[in-house]
């Protein structure tokens, strides 16, 4: 027939389906400056809003005088809590079940908190208006240390104290203290204590995973436009979850949900920073309603770093027990979690500390217990998952450090200790002590491949020699070999245990096949750089046999896209990717009926083959998907509706569990604290690989963020609650200069429950990278007695470690 010379391989290749390193379709516009970001949106008569922010971390507000600001040319309005209170909008719910001030209601709880919203004709006038607003503050005692917060008489949040003066109940149960938010327990407390008490060996360690920030290149912002004629509110914004934002806006504003259209245009990186709802969104909406004009709000870099969602800030205390020969018997973990002034985490409702209970890691640990206490302090709210699914970075850091500490305690090689304790391939699906059921894994294979690739024994021999040379005064550089085997938990998640504000964490895909054999698919997720338009088209290409190049992927407009919970926590591929495959299969099922009709055989007598249905046993008799698409619109087929469309809402049966084996080889100058990464090897197993090039890009990006976090990136406060790292001069954002060469590698262990076996990869390199860089620093000093030193490992802290170990004497 038409294309006999074309081989099956050619047909597969021309689809650019799964497994193909298809070039990113987004890049044509991004590399030519043709992206369309929120700040590119310009509407007629658009106004600009910006915040007066608190210079103090804790203060009473005694007066706000806006009169001088109203005199500034171009300033049209100044909103304060007093203006929002009659609407009930001076506070808003957070995604964590807490509430947060939209504009300071009598007091401020962190430096940079929103105090008043100045609306002006342009952003220059708004900036001048801000200067002219006079706020009188009465300073209050500042608490930046969560342990102090739990002892202090100072009440940070008046709403945490009941009528009788005792702590009121919080969103997740009783409070232990007025500055306490919640306690979350997981696992078996008494058995764990018993196992540890009776163990041959116990290693105990405390560690602080410092506060940092996702710092996307594009800051947060929005444009709100209330059309008073038709009663419709359109809200463009940097939203990682546009549908959830629509529902939240409807719930708090009372505007019916069908009258709200939320649009996430191109987003310049999110990394968790753009999941939550911010005062800027509420104020822009109110300002648009008040003025009748569109109102834009865009953060500057300092606003973003100082006030929008931070990450981490976990004080973790661990005990791990083992037999003399290294078999782990129990794990105990306690976390004091600093949430700042409001609990604005974005975790599923039942998980106030996210998936911290993945902290048994890649190891077969029979007994474990986890307890997390959330605490208020005078710091910015947040606690989002910075390129990790809900506290998985913290969990993996914790266990990968505890393994190293145990190896020291046992005087054992850290690789050997891991191998003894890995969950074995035949143990999957594996039920972990803290509740999760790991779907699949093959850790030993990945680990052995990694150790071989870096010549681990050779590295250890070199290190031994280096230590001798150092002691003999021949060199001032130490060599660190950082190891990490991480197990991620992504793809939140099964509606039975995962929801945000009561919204189940399913996701969705809707496909329309056009008569000429091209298609559009819309999803409930939203790309922030992950390349969804490229990869989701590839999934569909393989599922429905139309070329990826003929498939448009659209996301982010709630008027057109099906409901979904958005993109974060590596959930797009595990959840929306599954929905895409399932919707594709519905298309294929209908196409099969059409093909059978056209080929005049029974439905069961045709089978799918790449891009067509063929008659079984007679491959020369077939109908291509292109032909079938046309037939769907021009044939009257008995018993079959015209058209070719499908929708799938996918509720995943389980999470997916990507894993990987990372090795970092680092040179450390003990005199200056300067580090140099000589080698970084990253083996990732994300199950089925949709686009290897995009995977590699995700890994390079995630490792670079991990390097930043481990080696210098932090949000630091002084005792007065002033942010010390509010600009990019001090907040470390690595450039090409600081980034080493990354060697990437992989194994493939498909997820058994995911329709295409994919597991998600966006976060793995960050989750696994941070402990790997950190372990390299620790490992370099192991021979000199170091057990634990907290990140970030910047020059002076490494220097301090060397100094404390007597290496400068």
């Amino acid at each position: 027939m038409k294309d006999e010379a074309v081989t099956r391989e050619d047909r597969v290749a021309s689809l650019k389906g799964m497994g193909c390193s298809r070039k990113r379709v987004e890049d044509a516009r991004f590399t030519q400056g043709k992206g369309n970001y929120v700040d590119d949106i310009k509407l007629d008569g658009m106004l600009f809003g910006d915040f007066v922010r608190s210079p103090y971390a804790h203060a009473k507000i005694t007066n706000i005088d806006t009169s001088a600001a109203m005199e500034v040319p171009g300033v049209l309005a100044v909103l304060t809590a007093a203006d929002l209170a009659p609407l009930g909008l001076h506070w808003m719910p957070t995604l964590a079940g807490d509430k947060q001030m939209v504009l300071a209601d009598g007091k401020v709880l962190f430096q940079g908190q929103e105090v008043a919203f100045v609306v002006a004709e342009d952003r220059y006038a708004a900036a001048d208006g801000i200067e002219a607003v006079e706020v009188e503050y009465e300073e209050l005692p500042v608490i930046v240390d969560p342990f102090e917060a739990l002892q202090s008489d100072v009440v940070l949040r008046p709403d945490t104290v009941g009528e009788d003066g005792s702590p009121s109940d919080g969103a997740h149960g009783p409070r232990k203290h007025h500055n306490h938010i919640f306690t979350w327990e997981c696992g078996d407390k008494d058995p764990t204590e018993q196992v540890i008490a009776n163990a041959e060996v116990v290693a105990e360690e405390s560690m602080y995973y410092h506060r940092t920030h996702p710092c996307p290149l594009e800051t947060c912002g929005c444009v709100a436009s209330m059309d008073k004629v038709n009663g419709k509110l359109t809200l463009w914004g940097t939203f990682q979850a546009p549908h959830a934002i629509r529902t939240v806006v409807s719930l708090i504003s009372g505007i019916e949900e069908h009258n709200i259209r939320v649009i996430s245009p191109d987003i310049g990186g999110g990394f968790g920073n753009k999941v939550g709802a911010y005062p800027g969104y509420v104020c822009s909406v109110v300002a648009s309603i008040v003025t009748g004009k569109p109102v834009k709000w865009i953060e500057d870099r300092m606003d973003n770093l100082m006030t929008t969602a931070f990450a981490r800030d976990y004080w973790m205390k661990g005990r791990i027990s083992a037999t003399k020969d290294g078999k782990i018997t129990g794990l105990h973990c306690h976390v004091t979690a600093d949430h700042g002034g409001f609990d604005a985490c974005a975790d599923p409702t039942k998980f106030p500390a996210g998936f911290m209970n993945i902290c048994t890691g890649s190891y077969d640990i029979p007994t474990a217990f986890l307890e997390v206490d959330g605490v208020y302090t005078n710091k910015a709210p947040g606690g989002v998952s910075y390129r990790c699914s809900f506290r998985v970075t913290e969990a993996v850091y914790f266990i990968e450090r505890m393994i190293e500490v145990l190896a020291i305690e046992l005087d054992m090689d850290a690789s050997e200790l891991r191998k003894i304790n890995f969950i074995k391939k035949e143990q999957f699906p594996y039920k972990a002590a803290l509740g999760w059921e790991y779907d699949s894994g093959d850790y030993h294979t990945a680990w052995d491949k990694a150790m071989k690739a870096v010549d681990y024994d050779g590295l250890r021999a070199e290190q031994k020699q280096r230590i001798e040379d150092f002691k003999a005064g021949k060199t001032r550089k130490l060599l660190g070999i950082g190891l990490t085997h991480f197990t991620e938990i992504v793809g939140a998640g099964p509606v039975k245990n995962c929801d945000i504000l009561g919204l189940g964490m399913f996701d969705s895909c809707e496909i329309r096949i056009h008569p000429t054999g091209s298609a559009i698919a819309r999803l409930g997720t939203i790309s922030q750089g992950q390349g969804h338009a490229t990869t989701f088209a590839q999934i569909l290409a393989s599922e429905i046999g139309l070329p990826a190049d003929s498939i448009t992927i659209e996301e982010g407009d709630t008027d057109t896209a099906p409901y979904g919970l958005g993109t974060y926590g590596s959930r797009s591929t595990p959840v929306a990717g599954a929905a895409t495959a399932m919707a594709g299969r519905k298309i294929r099922a209908k196409a099969q009926m059409i093909a059978a009709y056209l080929l005049e055989v029974h439905d069961d007598d045709v089978e799918f083959d790449v891009d067509r249905f063929v008659v079984k046993g007679a491959p020369e008799k077939f109908k291509t998907m292109k032909e079938i698409a046309f037939a769907a619109y021009n044939q009257a087929i008995p018993g079959v509706e015209p058209g070719l469309e499908a929708v799938s809402y996918y509720d995943p049966p389980n999470m997916t569990y990507p894993f990987g084996a990372y090795v970092c080889v680092m040179e450390i100058d003990v005199d200056t604290g300067v580090t140099d990464i000589r080698q970084f090897y990253a083996l990732d197993d994300c199950g089925t690989r949709i686009n290897p090039m995009i995977i590699e890009g995700q890994i390079h990006g995630g490792l670079t963020e991990a390097l930043a976090v481990a080696l210098g990136q932090e949000i630091a406060y002084d005792d007065m609650g002033n942010v010390k790292t509010g600009t990019l001069m001090d907040f470390f954002l690595p450039t090409a200069w600081e980034v080493p060469n990354y060697e990437t590698d992989h194994t493939v262990t498909p997820s058994p429950h995911h329709p295409i076996g994919a597991k998600g990869v966006g976060e793995s390199p960050h989750v696994g990278g941070v402990p790997c860089f950190s372990n390299a620093v620790h490992d370099a000093f192991r021979a000199f007695g170091l057990r634990q030193t907290n990140m970030p490992h910047d020059h002076w802290r490494i220097w301090r470690t060397a100094n404390e170990l007597g290496l400068h004497d």
Partner: protein, 283 residues
Amino acid sequence: MIPASFEYHRPNDMAGVLSILEEHGDDARVMAGGHSLIPMMKLRMADVPHLIDLQDVGGLGGITVGDTITIGAMVTQSDIILHDALADAAPILREASLQIADPQVRYMGTVGGNVANGDPGNDMPGLMQCLDATFTVVGPNGERKIPARDFYEAAYMTGREDDEVMTAVSFAKPAGGHAYEKQKRKIGDYATAAAAVQIVKNGGTCASASIAMTNLSDTPVYSAAAGDALVGTSVDGDAIKAAVGAMLNDIDPVEDNRGPVAFKRHVAGVILARAIERAWSRA
């Protein structure tokens, strides 16, 4: 991060610049590359109602290389890096410039702005003190020359009057070996500690040595004592130790995000020792 409103002036000769400075006094300030001044204005740490752009003013560019080297105030760090004759005659300038900021900043940042700014983090003030340079300024009463080693009084306080404009820096063609050693946290960062060293070798001994340190006090630190400690020695371990010891008496670092004082002092010593060793190996 939006500056208060300001008037923008762009005169095309020095007379124009000086008359605007005279008219507006404290309210006026010149701008060269703007890469120190504009961030300060955006942070509203500098309030400049009248900004005078020097880009169109003639006579502030150019590099002349002879026994004396003269660099116009508006010469950028990038111009310095690309100038081969200058790199031959005074290689420490290229070595230092390559460690300033990043290429984008270096295309804009000027020598005049860098030395006039008075920010202890800038690298060129220390470098100019090491080279014993002279700054030429012009004001209502004509031209004046100020030695770099006398120019810096405190952070952002210099020997230049508000109504004077810097036109050039000049210095004798340096002799001997050089090194500019700088520790920083990342590309585009100011120094944790930096050392500029020029050493002249005569036979096996040090005939003269000039040493200046950056970002370790509220001004650059020219340490005559550190240089003296090397003169007449074979620049061995003891001599370097003595030089480092002398330098440590002259610096006064403060704690910041780069680290505490003890760390900075330690690193200053390490950086200086490395700079001396490298300069000596080239002498």
